[in-house]
């Protein structure tokens, strides 16, 4: 018994088709349990992934494969108050935020 989200990987294929993610500094806002974060990390991005839900961030940290640990940092935070200086990131991803 299982639930699979986007088994065709249409989401990451669409994101990959739109830009080159390799070595890009990315902030993902609304990362949830990190499902998309992991897929973007596999594309070569360096990611700060945020969500206001502490439980989801804890799950995301737990489920992050060790080989991605140098590419991804999960943080609890709000889209309305990003704790980063201006002009820090190459790419921002709003995952179901708006």
């Amino acid at each position: 018994m299982a639930l699979r989200i986007d088994p065709e990987k249409n989401e990451v294929h669409a994101l990959k088709a739109m830009t080159d993610w390799r070595n890009k500094r990315v902030i993902e806002i609304g990362c949830g349990n990190g499902r998309l974060t992991r897929r973007l990390a596999y594309l070569g991005a360096q990611i700060i992934a945020m969500d206001p839900d502490r439980k989801l961030i804890a799950t995301a940290r737990k489920d992050l494969p060790a080989r991605l640990s140098d590419r991804v940092r999960f943080k609890v935070g709000s889209a309305l108050d990003l704790k980063y200086p201006t002009q820090t990131f190459d790419i921002a991803v709003f995952s179901w935020v708006l």
Partner: protein
């Protein structure tokens, strides 16, 4: 919503990219997939108000010259479930997202259950979830 877009614009490099990924303002459809094909069961009745408000927020930052809308695509991000239990759990979680229409989805739950029992052999429940993805390029607004 528009304040989140302002904040993203602030932390982006000049010429940086903002991806706006979210459900398309359409109702999800439910089907049961068997070896012979997909039997469509019904469409959800969702409150799409937030989707339209989000579209307006994006239009506002484009109008203000903060971003340029460069690319757009829409695709399915389906949920595939092995059984009724997963579907019921998903439907329960869905009600917490604030997208559920006031009429609820008990009717749909019952319809899926009936169809699932009536169909024999290997089967999966599929929620067809259209997503939209927009690439917004930061401008020096």
């Amino acid at each position: 919503m528009v304040h989140a877009l302002y904040e993203a614009q602030r932390v982006l490099q000049p010429n940086g990219i903002l991806f706006d990924l979210r459900p398309a303002p359409v109702h999800r459809r439910i089907g049961i997939q068997t070896e012979s094909g997909v039997q469509e069961i019904g469409a959800m009745r969702e409150d799409l108000t937030d989707d339209y408000v989000a579209n307006q927020a994006v239009k506002q930052v484009v109008r203000e010259g903060l971003f340029k809308s460069e690319k757009f695509t829409q695709f399915n991000c389906n949920r595939v479930m092995d059984g009724l239990q997963e579907f019921q759990t998903w439907l329960l979680e869905f009600t917490t997202l604030g997208r559920e229409h006031s009429s609820g989805h008990h009717w749909l739950s019952e319809r899926v259950e009936r169809a699932h029992h009536a169909i024999h052999g290997k089967k999966k429940i599929i929620v067809y979830s259209p997503l939209m993805l927009r690439l917004l390029r930061k401008l020096e607004g």
